[in-house]
């Protein structure tokens, strides 16, 4: 049970401020798609528009090829998990999970408090709902908590109740709005794994909103990075990391942040000016290589400090021109490193460099084998 979700030029403005400008995205049936971006980028608004909780100012949403713009949330066959879990505090866990079914299967009169119990002919329906609740509660391992109220649950348990309430109706599309951000770090890692395995088991389309790049990178089939109300790039996590199409994406994805240096400085390293149309050169911390005499562009730098992360070491450097760059090397390599007088030299492999134009868009790299940089210049070590 899954559905393809298409967003076409979705716009949203509140008065003069535009929070979404022409967001288009196609989410394949059964895909785990994550919308990631800094706070205020419009990702939650986009999700709420998909849910039907807010109308868009322009554009169209299609689920399984049919437009749902005129449909209310209940008719869109979606389920949503909220950041605050949004559990009904006065209902037991069992009633919370059962609500979507009760609302759909029992007529309004039956659901009235107190009086509803007196209406005849509801026993079978109620028993079916009870069984369904029991089943999904066991799926997310909260079967023993059914009689409790949400106030008596831990954050992780509340999260599971919220998931169970979403699962019970067996919807084609799951929308999740930062569901893990209220949990502590350990639990977040566990729940990450559980949500991905839930996705595999249910086979439904998952659309997941987060500001946490780790969640985006570890859970999703594809990630859509949003900045300032636009989808800047949508690709697989690996592709986003190695091949960002926008400087903002490159900076947002990856920790520690990607190193960005000016073209002037890169020109000084290589001894040759870079062509017009390139404003920034960026490279990941792993691209920094301290092995002596390795091939590539040689750079002299001063060691500022280092951070031991157990398996890895982060090395914070300052180039002769004053730019700070960060390198990441295996701990074993760090212990063998020779630092004379705080000075250290490193090399960069030209193919690890990314070039961006003045507007931050990705530009072709001028260092390709048949490019304009002579091979012997690139190999020479400036020491």
């Amino acid at each position: 049970m899954s559905a393809k979700v298409e967003l076409e030029n979705i716009e949203k403005s509140y008065g003069a401020t535009q929070t979404l400008r022409s967001a288009s995205l196609t989410i394949e049936a059964g895909e785990f798609m994550t919308l990631v971006g800094p706070s205020g980028c419009g990702k939650s608004t986009l999700l709420r528009i998909m849910a039907g909780l807010q109308p868009q100012s322009a554009g169209e949403i299609r689920i399984d090829g049919t437009s749902v713009d005129h449909l209310r949330p209940r008719e869109r066959d979606i389920a949503m998990v909220f950041q605050s879990y949004a559990l009904y505090p006065h209902m037991s866990v069992e009633q919370n999970i059962g609500t979507p079914l009760r609302v759909r299967r029992l007529p309004t009169a039956v659901r009235l408090p107190v009086l509803g119990r007196l209406v005849p002919g509801q026993r079978t329906a109620r028993r079916e709902i009870q069984e369904a609740v029991r089943e999904v509660a066991d799926q997310v391992e909260i079967g023993h908590l059914l009689p409790r109220k949400p106030a008596a649950l831990s954050g992780g348990q509340r999260q599971r109740v919220a998931l169970a309430r979403a699962i019970i109706r067996n919807p084609k599309v799951f929308l999740m709005d930062e569901p893990l951000s209220n949990l502590d770090a350990r639990l977040r890692v566990t729940m990450r794994g559980e949500i991905t395995s839930l996705h595999r088991r249910l086979g439904a389309t998952f659309i997941y909103v987060t500001h946490d790049q780790t969640e985006a990178m570890t859970m999703s089939d594809r990630v859509a990075v949003m900045m300032d109300g636009e989808i800047v790039q949508c690709a697989s996590p690996q592709e986003l990391y190695t091949n960002p199409q926008d400087l903002r994406v490159a900076r947002f994805i990856g920790s520690p942040e990607i190193n960005v240096v000016s073209t002037e400085e890169t020109a000084r390293w290589t001894g040759q000016p870079l062509p017009d149309g390139i404003a920034h050169i960026a490279f990941r911390p792993e691209a920094i290589d301290f092995t002596p005499k390795s091939a590539g562009i040689g750079v002299d730098a001063r060691l500022l400090r280092h951070e031991l992360l157990g398996h890895d070491v982060l090395v914070f450097l300052q180039t002769d021109q004053g730019t700070e760059v960060t390198g990441r090397i295996p701990a074993a390599q760090w212990s063998g490193l020779a630092v004379a007088d705080g000075q250290i030299a490193f090399t960069l492999r030209p193919e690890a460099l990314l070039a961006f134009d003045p507007s931050g868009k990705r530009a072709p790299l001028p260092f390709s084998p048949d490019g304009m940089m002579p091979a012997d210049r690139m190999l020479s070590h400036a020491s």
Partner: protein, 313 residues
């Protein structure tokens, strides 16, 4: 005050020696001298007057009398056989039974309607809150005129439609209803403000969740989300409204003086007032006050116990 505010459990026994103070440990005399002034004020201003009333109710004290003697439970025994007292008690209960449900319901209705507005919330709140700020004695005079049997605009309106006039304040069967109307009018705005405060505390995401769960019908949303989440507020509103309604006095004193006919609108506080300050029988008035206090305390306690279990989550 909500009944769930538990008394502070007091300092926990500490094993460390008293000499090693780590900030929190304070010698007994310091804490007592700090708490002293407020304890004295509490006793003087709150507990002593009540104790004095209870004491007075066992005496035959008359206002201005030079000597006083203990009469035991005589005052209470007399009350038991006093028809005027029982009538006042009955009238008070009838009055409370009219005022509380109507003012609570009206307050909730106004709150929900005003809260749903996109603009003009403030002005409506202000308008409906105005009666709360007006002195009831002054407003009672206005109401007396408005509902007057012959010259009141309300009855002129009825007459112009060819309907029979309703003279609230000279018909013994209607007088309590007329008085209740005034109290409902003044209490609903206050209850509305309390309910609006309760409504704003309901998280918006719950309504989003209700939408996704399929609750689109406004009544459905009201009964499944709004009303249950207003539970604690409702409890508070019911208790304060009950106490306010029990204390009805000024409208009776200004408009009807217990009339029409003997005692059709006699209420507990008015009878007490007459007993003490017209007939100067302070002992008897004190006994009535004690009964009044007891009734209010029992009511507040029962409501808190019964409702507390239903409304808290």
């Amino acid at each position: 005050m909500p009944a769930d505010i538990a008394a502070f459990p007091g300092p926990a026994p500490v094993a460390v020696s008293p000499r090693r103070r780590h900030g929190a440990q304070i010698p007994g005399w310091v804490s007592w001298s700090l708490a002293g002034p407020s304890v004295v004020l509490l006793v003087l201003l709150m507990l002593l007057p009540i104790a004095a009333i209870v004491l007075l109710s066992f005496t035959d004290y008359r206002f201005g009398a030079l000597e006083v003697s203990f009469v035991g439970l005589d005052n209470y025994v007399d009350l038991n056989s006093d028809r005027a007292f029982w009538r006042a008690l009955g009238n008070t209960f009838t009055y409370v039974a009219m005022v509380v449900p109507a003012s609570v319901f009206l307050g909730l209705l106004l709150a929900v309607l005003i809260n749903g507005l996109t603009r003009g919330r403030k002005i409506y709140q202000l308008i409906f809150f105005l009666p709360v700020t007006a002195t009831l004695v002054a407003m009672a005079t206005v109401w007396k005129y408005l509902l007057h049997g012959t010259i009141g605009p309300f009855n002129l309106l009825l007459k112009s439609w060819g309907l029979p006039a309703i003279d609230f304040f000279s018909d013994p069967d209607l007088v309590l209803g007329g008085l209740a109307l005034i109290n409902i009018w003044s209490l609903a705005g206050f209850n509305m403000v309390l309910f609006i405060a309760g409504l704003t505390a309901i998280p918006e995401e719950l309504y989003d969740a209700a939408s996704v769960d399929g609750m689109e019908n406004p009544l459905d949303r009201f009964f499944s989300v709004t009303l249950p989440l207003l539970g604690p507020t409702t409890m508070f509103v019911i208790i304060t409204s009950t106490i306010t309604a029990f204390k009805v006095f000024d409208t009776v004193a200004v408009i009807t003086r217990g009339g029409p006919r003997r005692g059709a609108s006699d209420v507990l506080l008015y009878t007490t007032y007459l007993e003490g300050f017209t007939y100067f029988r302070m002992g008897s008035a004190a006994a009535m006050t004690v009964v009044f206090l007891a009734i209010i305390m029992i009511f507040a306690f029962l409501q808190a116990r019964v409702l507390d279990r239903k409304v808290h989550y």
